[in-house]
C-alpha cells in the first residue's frame, strides 16, 4: 500500500518534471514579454487589477459623499484602492505572491461592504486572482543537454577512431 503511494507520487513528480521541461524548452525561443510573464503570477495579478478597478467604480460614482463623516463610500475607496495596489505589487514582487494573494482575497470579500464588491464581479475576480497568486510557484529547471546533438558528436568520434585504427592496421 505504501509502495503504491510512493510509486504514484514518483510518477506524478516525473510527469510534472516533463511538463516543466517542455515549458522550459518553449521559453528558450520565447520573446521578451513571454519571458517577463513567466517570472511572475501574471494572470493572478491581472485579474486582481481588474477586480480593483471594478470595486472602485461604485465609490467613484459616489465621490461627492465619499468624504462625508460616517460615509461608507470612503470604505469602498479604501478597499478598491488597496486591491488595485496589491495587484500591481504582485507584478513587481512575485516572490511575495502567496502573502499578497491572501490579502487580496480578504479585501475582495470585505469590499462587499462599502462598494458592493464591484457589483459582485470585483469580488469574484479578486478571489480568483488571489487564489492564482497563492498557487503560483517558480521552479528552477536544470538544463538538460541536447541528446541528439551529443550522440551525433559521439558517433563522429567513433567513426574517426575506427578510421584511424583501420588505417594503422593496413
Amino acid at each position: 500500500m505504501g509502495k503504491d503511494k510512493a510509486e504514484r507520487k514518483r510518477i506524478k513528480a516525473e510527469k510534472l518534471e516533463a511538463k516543466l521541461q517542455k515549458k522550459h524548452q518553449k521559453l528558450e525561443n520565447a520573446g521578451k514579454f513571454k519571458l517577463w510573464r513567466n517570472h511572475r503570477p501574471f494572470w493572478g495579478a491581472t485579474l486582481t487589477v481588474l477586480a480593483g478597478l471594478l470595486i472602485l467604480y461604485i465609490p467613484i460614482q459616489l465621490y461627492a459623499i465619499a468624504f462625508v463623516p460616517g460615509s461608507f463610500a470612503f470604505v469602498g475607496f479604501l478597499f478598491g484602492g488597496l486591491v488595485l495596489i496589491l495587484g500591481v505589487l504582485a507584478y513587481l514582487y512575485p516572490q511575495f505572491s502567496t502573502v499578497l494573494g491572501v490579502i487580496i482575497m480578504f479585501l475582495s470579500i470585505l469590499s462587499i461592504m462599502g462598494a458592493l464588491g464591484g457589483f459582485l464581479f470585483g469580488t469574484i475576480f479578486g478571489i480568483v486572482g488571489g487564489a492564482l497568486c497563492i498557487a503560483w510557484k517558480e521552479q528552477e529547471i536544470p538544463h538538460l543537454p541536447d541528446q541528439t546533438k551529443e550522440s551525433k558528436e559521439n558517433n563522429q568520434l567513433i567513426y574517426h577512431s575506427e578510421v584511424a585504427s583501420t588505417k594503422s592496421t593496413t
Binding site: 517570472h39 459616489l62 459623499i65 512575485p94 469580488t123 478571489i127 529547471i141
Partner: protein, 190 residues
Amino acid sequence: MSVGFTVKKKFVAALICGLIVLGAMVGVFGMTGTALALPLGGMGDFYVQFDKLEGKGFEMLPQIGETGNSDASPMVRNKIEEATVYNLLIYKDLKLPDGKWIRVNIKGTQPTEIHGLIQDARYIEANLQFSNLGIHEKNTDDYTKNWSQSAEKVTITNAKIVTDYLFQTMVKLQGAKISIESIDKPETIN
C-alpha cells in the same frame, strides 16, 4: 532558468476557501439585511417617516442632546424594546462641496424589525396609541430621571420625526432600497 507555474491543488483549495467565506458573509449580511448595534448619529438631523410602528416596552424621557446646529438642544428620548415598522423611510439632506444639496434615502420595502431602539427626537408629528400608559415624576435634580412616560404597547401611525440620534441593538431591514436624489433646498422644521 526558472519556470513559473500554478499548482492546481493549491489554487483549488484557495478558491474553495475564498468562496466559502464569501458565501458565509453574504448569508449573514446579504440575505437577512441584519445589522447589529447600528448607531446612526454624528451627522446632524435626519428624518424618519413611517406609516405604522407597533412597539412593546415603550419609554419616553426628556433629553438634552447635540444637533447639527447646536451643542445642547432639548429633545425627547424614545426607547422601544421591540418594534415592527411598516414603510420606513429614513432620509438626510446633505450639502455638497459645490453648494448643491442631495437627499440620501434609506427605504424599507418590507416590515422592519428592530430590537433595542433608542431615538432622540427634536420634533414628532404622529398619531399615537398607547396601552397601559403611565406618567411618572421623580424627586431628583437629574433632568433625565425627573419625568418619564412608559407604556406596555404603543402604536404610532403616519409619523414624521426629526431625529438627532438613533441606536438599534438589532435591526432587520429586508428589501432595503438606498437612493440619492438631487434637491433644491433642504427640508427644515424648527
